[in-house]
Amino acid sequence: MILIAERINGMFTNVKEAIAQKDKKVIQELAKKQTEAGAAYLDVNVGTAAADQEAAMQWLVETIQETCSTPLSLDSQKPNVIAAGLKVINAENGLILNSAPLNRKNDEEILDKYMEMANQAGPKANIITLTMDKNGVPQDIDTRVAIAAEIVQKAMEKGFDTQRLFIDPIVLPVKVPNAQVQPSSMLAAMDQIRYLADPPPHMTIGLSNLSQGATERCLINRVFLAMAVSHGLDSAIVDVLEEKLINALATAEMLMNKQIYSDSFLKVYKTAGKA
């Protein structure tokens, strides 16, 4: 499982304050802890509060890289903010551009732009692409798969290795009227998305969104993560510091025969490398 750690995000108060006060210690501590907890990538999101998002992104990237070499996932819906991060990032270890939809009403070429940015950043630059287009987030299985297919096709046409694509079928909060059907639709969509290319594109989800506003958030998150693993999910943006979540994940991967069982399977999961 390719874990993308979610905690360096301006939506969290301590990160927001750290950005405002240029307090490097908070950020570097989060980078270290999440790396130790098994993160393959650290997501970096400036949030919405920063006055100058480009500058905030650059400060975060530089601050993290001062003490940590874990690859980063530059997270913004604004290409200019990601581009700002790319200017200062060390791309050698790999990185992710997070994220682009297939297209937008006001920007038909958005995914092309991300692919171009990724290519400029080097062969180890990946993209998270959302199964979403100008009509918004699809509510059914078929549209999700159809958009994913268009994404894969675009990548193939442009010679962009499908192994560099992380397709995100978009998790919606379960506690939204009429949204309870979404988790099972997502799983059904994932069953099809993995056959769009060989080897299959990566699939990732922003897990925490699922339990937004609900009670028993951690329980909901980890049960769904285990279910998604059984449908081919091989990456997720999660709180890697949540031990029960990682234990559930380790168990799910072991039960799916992605990790060889040993009596110490929980203990070694973080160091065992991705499946």
Partner: protein, 320 residues
């Protein structure tokens, strides 16, 4: 239209382990041997993916073997009770990459020899040959725990490969191998789950994973080779998949297992062909089969089998 690329590619690789220490590194070996490094299955991927050539560790016993069939004993008849000369013969005449010194004679049910004997033999063999050594206990936990630490100490600084440690008996030898700067063999009884667990246990004691070689136990042709084959293959796939607890190179014991087979031993079996050919063929066939599953160090015994397998390795690993 171009031909599509169908080779599988992997993210992980088998770790490289270097055995032996020359004068520059504080030892007395005249050469070192590096194994591992494969980034694909055998025959899979590109030339760069093949890693280091597999090597042959020829068995030398600390005490004259009592139960070797005549066909196997014959080529060594002048040296069977002289481990130093035996080792020298294997290296100088038969092309052994390594010597595996097997302390058969310390077993309580066999000659039950003591630590001073084992130390003496170790020193004798170290002096006789310049290749790196594999030092292999007798398999009796209590006796190995008494003797092998002394053997380890006698070879301190030589960067040997020493073993074996198991899930139930790993602490003493792991600690001493760490202290004396050797590499360690972790053993499991044809059980991939236990194999992983032993590696974790050794690693928990602070033993570097990059200095471990695994031994999954070996089955000879006709005697469980399919189990050994599938476990080796599974280990290789786990290593290539990036499972850090399974990335070690592999040693297998083809010599002992092959010569246990009745097909290799039985003289009075006219329908099976000449007995002097059967054993070497059995040993070579077992080795070549396991090489294709992905093994790095092969313990072997008969000169003709060694020659056949070396020829195979040279053809396959040099032409890829």
């Amino acid at each position: 239209m171009s031909v599509p690329e169908v080779a599988e590619s992997f993210t992980g690789e088998v770790s490289r382990v270097t055995l032996g220490a020359t004068k520059d590194s504080g030892g007395t070996r005249t050469s070192t041997v590096t194994v591992g490094g494969a980034r694909n299955m055998v025959y899979g991927g590109s030339r760069q993916d093949t890693g280091e050539k597999p090597v042959i560790a020829m068995d030398v016993l600390d005490s004259e073997p009592q139960d070797w069939p005549q066909v196997l004993a014959e080529p060594y008849k002048d040296v069977l009770d002289k481990p130093g000369e035996w080792a020298k013969k294997c290296v100088d005449e038969l092309g052994a990459d390594l010597i595996c010194l097997k302390f058969e004679g310390i077993h309580p049910d066999k000659a039950n020899k003591d630590a001073s004997h084992a130390v003496k033999v170790t020193e004798e063999v170290l002096k006789a040959v310049g290749v790196p050594l594999v030092l292999w206990g007798c398999g009796n936990d209590e006796k190995d725990n008494q003797v092998m630490p002394k053997v380890s100490e006698a070879a301190k600084g030589e960067n040997c490969l020493i073993g074996t440690v198991t899930e139930d008996n790993y602490k003493a030898l792991t600690a001493i191998a760490l202290a004396d700067g050797h590499n360690l063999i972790t053993e499991a009884p044809l059980d991939i789950n236990i194999a992983k667990q032993v590696n974790i246990l050794a690693s928990d004691m602070g033993f570097p994973l990059k200095r471990i070689v695994t031994f999954q136990a070996t089955g000879a042709l006709g005697y469980g080779i399919e189990y050994a084959y599938s476990i080796q293959e599974r280990q290789r796939l786990a290593a290539l998949g990036g499972d850090k607890m399974m990335t070690m190179p592999v040693i297998c014991d083809v010599g002992y297992e092959s010569w246990r087979a009745k097909e290799a031993q039985l003289a009075d079996a006219p329908g099976w062909g000449a007995v002097q050919d059967r054993g070497p063929m059995w040993e070579a066939a077992t080795a070549i089969c396991l090489l294709q599953a992905g093994v790095d160090i092969i313990r072997m015994r008969h000169p003709r089998a060694v020659a056949t397998v070396k020829n195979f390795i040279n053809q396959i690993w040099s032409s890829q």
